[in-house]
Symmetry: C2
Subunit: 157 residues, 2 copies
């Protein structure tokens, strides 16, 4: 007989509330809920903030890379960046070496907005992880990485 874990949905004992991906979705959902509220106070949309967090680390960066890192389709990122340009948060320019590529950078206003938002998000993270031991956080990250890696493998296979 197939000996799976209790997370096996074919098992009659299976319950959604014990299902890892349900709990992952749940944590993700609550986080987005909080983010939405916090960001709206500052007039920034969730997708725009998501792109900004990538731009914080890499700049300039192409639309394609933004899409890969932000887990969003290219066409969607293209439009999000359009909005950011409209709002004066980002600037685009064709890449010097390869003019097919659109280099995206934060404007000064965009950087200021991000700097304003970062501590707000930081406080939410403090609340989210309150009472969780450092070792447990490390284990969480490690397990999540393994799950992502397993699924990425399955993608190619």
């Amino acid at each position: 007989m197939s000996k799976r874990t209790v997370y096996d949905p074919t098992d009659p004992a299976f319950r959604l509330e014990n299902s890892p991906f349900y709990l992952i979705a749940h944590a993700d959902f609550r986080y987005h809920q909080q983010m939405d509220e916090a960001l709206q106070h500052h007039g920034v949309s969730k997708p725009i903030y998501r792109i900004m967090t990538v731009l914080r680390e890499r700049q300039p960066v192409s639309i394609g890379t933004l899409a890969d890192v932000a887990l969003t389709k290219r066409s969607t990122v293209s439009r999000i960046v359009d909005r950011m340009v409209d709002q004066g948060l980002a600037a685009t320019a064709p890449n010097d070496a390869d003019s097919r590529i659109t280099d995206v950078t934060l404007t000064d206003a965009g950087q200021r907005t991000l700097d304003k938002l970062t501590p707000v998000v930081g406080e939410q993270l403090d609340r989210a992880f309150a009472g969780i031991a450092e070792a447990d956080m490390t284990a969480l990250l490690s397990t999540l990485r393994r799950i992502s890696s397993n699924l990425a493998k399955a993608d190619r296979g």
Copy 2:
């Protein structure tokens, strides 16, 4: 000085790839990617499958409860159920005791579809959790529950 963890986005050492919620989103994203492919082969959309997993455990169930458990807005669930009814997967009827409530149930065809899908999803979960110790899974669930609970508290406060 505020002594946060390295997951503090205000810290210059902060990196997206080490951020818990980024990794949560990443795992969620890969899972959805896999699901989409698997479900499309069976002509079932992701939102419909999501609702079905709730109906597996509770039946009949109201639109509102479906929305709460499936982490989706009521109006959206209302329309997803419409589609399920159109496709012959679900049936609706006003609740006997309170006719404001719409009781949703799976039809026989819907149950058969779910039965067909469940082992497919089970195999994906096997792949996703391959090589992860039982104790690590338990820790993962525990930490995720704590995070959700922390954020739910923050919601009310």
